[in-house]
Symmetry: none
Amino acid sequence: MARDRVLAANKILVGDCVEQLRNLPDKSVDLVFADPPYNLQLSTELLRPNNTRVDGVDDAWDKFASFEEYDRFTRAWLAECRRVLKPDGAMWLIGSYHNVFRLGSALQDQGFWILNDVVWRKVNPMPNFRGRRFTNAHETLIWAARDQKSRYTFNYESLKASNDDLQMRSDWLFPICSGPERLKDDGGRKAHPTQKPEALLHRILIGTTNPGDVVLDPFFGTGTTGAVAKRLGRRWIGVERDTDYVKAAEERIAKVKTLSTSSLETQPSKRTEPRVPFGALVELGMLRPGAPLYDERRRVRAEVKADGTLAVPGSQGSIHRLGAVVQGKAACNGWTFWHYERGGRLHPIDNLRERAKVALGLSGKQQRAEPLIAAE
Amino acid sequence: MARDRVLAANKILVGDCVEQLRNLPDKSVDLVFADPPYNLQLSTELLRPNNTRVDGVDDAWDKFASFEEYDRFTRAWLAECRRVLKPDGAMWLIGSYHNVFRLGSALQDQGFWILNDVVWRKVNPMPNFRGRRFTNAHETLIWAARDQKSRYTFNYESLKASNDDLQMRSDWLFPICSGPERLKDDGGRKAHPTQKPEALLHRILIGTTNPGDVVLDPFFGTGTTGAVAKRLGRRWIGVERDTDYVKAAEERIAKVKTLSTSSLETQPSKRTEPRVPFGALVELGMLRPGAPLYDERRRVRAEVKADGTLAVPGSQGSIHRLGAVVQGKAACNGWTFWHYERGGRLHPIDNLRERAKVALGLSGKQQRAEPLIAAE
DNA sequence: CTGAAGTTTGAATCAGACG
DNA sequence: CCGTCTGATTCAAACTTCA
């Protein structure tokens, strides 16, 4: 089958994904990174609260008539990727809840062996403008070996060392791709609607490939995979149908310099300040619903509700909002304003937050969260 | 079909999941929470349709056969859950990468409408002992409405208020179930291998059910769903096959006390508050016909008409329509766009609506809250 | 030039009542 | 079932404007 197919790395194959993959030889690729269409199927336009329109993904390449058609497409390109992978090769997929369950099932059906699912937590996701769902603040990656027997690459020590000597977990925190990294077209608009951050590919390639490995991206887009692969001294192959994307990717990758063998960049981990919301104290049982809270001088008595709000007669809201309301002020830091009673004395609920941080592992020491106010 | 099936809540149905679900009436349940078996030991536990054992996992056909069997089981209990759900009902599933892709695909295939996938990030996950994978530090939840048209319950304001006035995101941080909350058997060993933390169910039930709702858990285990449902004033039904688990769950739930009705009051939503049409302000004499209204910066001047419409030269219509027209936008909330003048200053007409609610006796508890502490 | 203030934007299956 | 109309709703970061 593959007798006259030769692997030429560091180039983009222009054309249909499955057709182009057929031109690659069997067992020639170490890793596949695939960011396939998400099949979003947006129905109507979405307005922001200020009545401006959200520039959603409505490109033709993301349109599929049904799950059946999407599954058919998925099976076709997955099968080609599997053929092209070396026996010890592996694959990364990325998707959202719209498509990732189809991807994962198809992977398993074809004999891939899932090693982890990994969650990319977005520092700065787009909010949910209508207030009808949770903020969609993550995307899901699947890491799978070609089959159960594959001796896949995993640079455990590198990842651990770059993670303050803690095992790298399955939840990763990165900002979305914006700023200077985000490619723009001639008109100054985003060149690609779904450009992935280089930090994501950086961790993947450092963690699951070795220098010199061949990385295939069958949905190359504007070439994030190629750019990071080149920088990290990996070889790469991209497949992309859209010639505008191809042009942008080629120009982008041409500017990238390969790092010297010695200089192994450490992951710039953008840690956000650990935050404990008030509701967590209720959910964790540290404050019972019905428990009273007071201001410092006991002039106001409020009651904790099961939904994580606080109430006085005639008003209910967050600890901050209610603190502002009872004082007739515009704003209030509820953490220092409200107090719980213990041993006949009042303590700011901020103290509880410190203990919750410990329970949630957001501070150094590990201990258990005991209820501090007994049920009545 | 369901003519002689009666819904008896707050009890455990002992027996096979699908068989027991068949005894529940159609459209009787508000929410399903399901924590199905994870399919971890495919090769040893699962039988082929002809009851021969699937032995050996080396063979791709066996793996496929096993997934087939798991999918058949999944479709069977999901279909019963869908039948039992009210038209506006919803479902939560929880799983790991071993089974969650099968669950999500089956949900979509049966017509459920996925609203979010949610990631439970574990504070204290089990480390990966062999250092060959990422620490499996999360599990995945799927929240889905019965179908696309379902008007599902979502207590957006409660979740936001309990999260320091920020929208609740799709990534949740909770410790695994341990300490006193973890049920032990007579030998002091954990009574159930995968007991879920009550905090997880607390957030789910607060966020997506109302007091009095019926919550069904078809894989009840040691009854976390029932315990939290009872505490939060929701009704519950469990299905469990293992009589040891049933006994542990019954003892556990018997000890739980339901919170007082007042503790369960949720943050009221502006959406559910009674509506005051603009015309009522004119009828009540709060705005006289001919009165001028302005946008925030006085760039536009409109005039109130006796019929409750608003007019600028050349255009007339509702406060919303006219606000959109003068801005050249597709939509506009007239209540916040238009302002009336009083004491030389502009105030949004939304303020008048609040006063109209009081005048019309439509105001509930969330009325004009007076400061309880005098300004200093 | 600097900092404050305002604007733009990101893989989105994003409403509900009423006639 | 479908069209019409009211009116509820956003977070973090980058970028632009202006004092």
